[in-house]
Symmetry: C2
Subunit: 228 residues, 2 copies
């Protein structure tokens, strides 16, 4: 079907984009600049992958989120915490209802370009502290998108039963150069190696047995996941 | 409960705002400037009502909608059609998934200001041509908002069983000066009297037996609703 892809420039969405190129007619890829510290690092990679595939790429500016929303992920927030991605202190990096906002905008965009599907890279490991990554949220949004559009737009979640390790494997199968993807929430010159999303990234490559091409500032031993 | 209100400056949302002031602790009212021809006319009225009530008012700028979305409601679209609000040609004024986008952003805003509820003035007469006004859409969004936030934010639809005539009556009971509300999609100096939303407004006051304080450019006999 004609589909658009949410493409942040991270390893999950870049893999979902290349996966979707095999499955669908991808008519556009969307990035969102919502004022996070790492938007400026990840969006150029989103654009690179879209351009290389000859797919239209648009960046949607959401400046109001940095001005009005509370989150340490944003320029207006505090320091990015270090530790395991699934730890409670990572809650400070949650941007309220971010996935709801991106999906809603992408849904309206999809209807405007006559797409029938919308691909998001949400996966099974995303759920620990992010309510807007979990299946009950996704099911509600899927209903809202289908019922709220003439085209009855479908929310496609190809990775919902995979974890990040499986995504690293899938990306490697697809021949993705992961050095052209960005994860680090701190948004420095290179990946820090210690923030929650760097830890998650390093762990995924390690468990997948896929060489990690990322340059990290430091690579201390990986912290364990918290008891669940 | 602590609640925020979607306040466009139209007669429905202004009535919902005053209704909510009686029912909840209203901590903010949100307007959205998405590039419609009438945003510049309606948003000042939203601000006026919020200011008079001592409630924080914010206008969220969504410039990307005018650039990327297809609708005659937008500056980038064609002429606003005349006729009855429920006629098929009014589909040209639908902005794809507009309510989904506004609700999602308002939900994230609500979580950031520690509100538990979000009021929208959706009503039973809104459904004819707008998929993102109907109950199956609203039910999906309500699920997504509840499941996608820590606060389990509630989507409040106080007027969902009312029609616009009943809202005009409710607004009159609340003592609202409807001359400080805006409907006309054309966004001229005064209401045109002939576009779909002017027809709907005139019809509501007439059927409610509430004096219509609106200055219209012309007031030809009201067209009939299409056979349903």
């Amino acid at each position: 079907m004609k589909a658009i892809v949410l493409l942040s420039g991270g390893m999950d969405s870049v893999t979902a984009f290349h996966h979707a190129l095999n499955e669908h007619e991808v008519v556009a890829a969307l990035s969102f600049d919502y004022g996070s510290k790492h938007n400026a690092r990840e969006i150029p990679f989103a654009q690179l992958h879209a351009n290389n595939a000859g797919v239209r790429h648009e960046t949607i500016e959401l400046g109001f989120m940095d001005r009005h929303f509370q989150s340490d992920l944003l320029h207006s927030g505090g320091e990015i915490p270090d530790g395991h991605y699934a730890e409670a202190n990572m809650k400070r990096t949650v941007v309220p209802f971010r996935n709801g906002i991106m999906l809603a905008i992408a849904c309206g965009f999809a209807e405007s370009v006559e797409a029938q599907g919308l691909v998001i890279a949400a996966h099974s490991g995303d759920h620990a502290i992010y309510p807007d990554c979990r299946e009950p949220f996704m099911a509600g949004m899927a209903t809202a998108m289908r019922e709220g559009t003439y085209a009855r737009i479908e929310l496609l979640r190809p990775f919902i039963d995979l974890d990040k390790t499986a995504i690293a494997r899938r990306g490697a199968e697809l021949g993705i150069d992961f050095s052209t993807t960005w994860s680090c929430y701190k948004g420095g010159d290179i990946h820090c190696g210690t923030c929650g999303t760097c830890v998650e990234r390093r762990e995924a490559f390690l468990l997948a047995g896929v060489p990690d091409p990322t340059r990290y500032l430091v690579t201390p031993p990986l912290p364990s996941a918290p008891e669940s």
